[in-house]
């Protein structure tokens, strides 16, 4: 069984984007701006890509939330991993992930991206069981394929996660703990 080199996983954890200014208020404003214009990358692998396109079309219209699909990784903030990740595709996903700038997030869409889905079984040689094996996944959207409403709920959940700023909340909690220890 080919085991992909686990050691490579740590090289790709979420690079903490340095807070531009110390003020929490400004950070919250920037989070608010990031939330209302999340630009995902057009990057569909299999069946879930069709439901991702359906979410972008006339009936469910992601453009309402300011979400435009950008074709280059350089101008996108969210990587929606929609479909089965095969071993042959892992290096490409890693390069795409590292090409994305600044504060970036990952949505694992569909059971294949969450845990290998209908193709995960004992003798499986071709696919990686889930995107979180080598990507820091923020939001999991279950379903095979998930309905477009499911993806929209996932995106809204990501918005809640960003504005609630769990990343900053953790940092504030650490600072408070350090001060308490002193």
């Amino acid at each position: 069984m080919p085991s992909i080199d686990r050691s490579a996983d740590h090289s790709v954890e979420l690079k903490e984007s340095p807070a531009i200014l110390g003020f929490a208020a400004l950070q919250d404003l920037l989070n608010l701006a990031r939330v209302n214009s999340l630009w995902p990358m057009t990057f569909g692998i299999a069946c879930c890509s069709i439901e991702m396109m359906a979410a972008g079309m006339a009936r469910f219209d992601l453009d309402r939330f300011g979400i435009i699909f950008r074709s280059t990784p350089r101008q996108s903030d969210v990587m929606i991993v929609a479909g089965t990740i095969s071993h042959k595709f892992v290096p490409t996903i890693k390069t795409l992930w590292e090409q994305m700038p600044g504060p970036k997030w990952v949505i694992a869409m569909g059971n294949c991206a969450i845990s290998g889905g209908p193709f995960a079984y004992e003798g499986q040689y071709a696919i990686v069981n889930g995107a979180d094996k080598f990507l820091p996944v923020d939001i999991y959207v279950p379903g095979c394929p998930p309905r477009p409403e499911g993806l929209i709920q996932g995106l809204l959940q990501l918005q809640k996660k960003i504005t609630k700023g769990t990343i900053d909340a953790n940092r504030r909690a650490e600072k408070a703990a350090r001060r308490a220890k002193k």
């Binding site: 920037l30 701006a33 219209d61 309402r64 300011g66 074709s71 350089r74 700038p101 504060p103």
Partner: protein, 332 residues
Amino acid sequence: MNITQLPFIKEIYGFLGHDLTATVTGILIILVFVPLNSAFLVWVERKVAGHIQLRPGPMEVGPHGILQTLIDAVKLMSKEMITPKLADKFLFWLAPIIIIIPAIVCFVVIPFSPLMQVREMNVGILLIFSFSSITVLSILMGGWASNNKYALIGAVRAVAQNVAYEIPLLLSTMSIIIMTNSFKMSEITAAQSPVWFIVYQPVAAIIFFISTTAETNRAPFDLVEAESELVSGFHTEYTGMRFALFFLAEYTNMFIAASMGAVLFFGGWHGPFFPGLIWFVVKVYILIFVIIWVRWTFPRLRFDQLMNFAWKFMIPVALINLMITAIVLKVL
């Protein structure tokens, strides 16, 4: 007591003199007007495209998503600025700056209304053409410097396309200038008070409109950043605020093209009973709506068809039109 008597402004007015303060205030107004206007245009394009495609377009930010582009700009500001390792650092950094300068400078000569014109230059139209050809230079710089095959193909296409469509643009404007024999934009608008030039020059108007769409790289001539072929053309490698500058410049160029069309063919600020400025803005936005409308209905031309269309069809027709106007003027 006019404005120049106010305490603070009196010193500046005294120090700079009438002309300079007028220009400085004009330029300040332009520097405020250009980003706001292109942000508004991006929002207009997304709403019009939405309604053409049976969907509402941006709705979340502000009433009907009016602040959407502002939020995009703030988000792009907070993005990490990546310079590719093998990129030509200096050119990569310079390209977005070079593309903004001509876009802003061209506003100096546009006659918004009889008294609202920053600087009345007798080279009016010539200034706009010369500066708008600098954008090609920055596209080539951006495409070459980002060391990306798609960007390079996009940049090379941009040069060939703009060179090919600069000539019919100039020829069609020449037929107007022969009629008014002056480059001053205000004189051109003044000469159109009874009858607009589109009545005399319909062919030149069509050629002008097609070549401005090609000049600003808008569909069906958007081979430069062809979404489905070249990923996103010359600004494939640009992230954050640099990409926002390219985006801003594209929409400002569109506004300049539409305003030149309004001035040359639709009689600038002439109009029955509304004040001049209202008429000018209405005409410009109607032209912009047509440009947006064209973008969302037509597929994209192939590169050699684009070239044949310019060299083999547009230039001969423009030349013939110029000749006919010359003969007619001679005869009359």
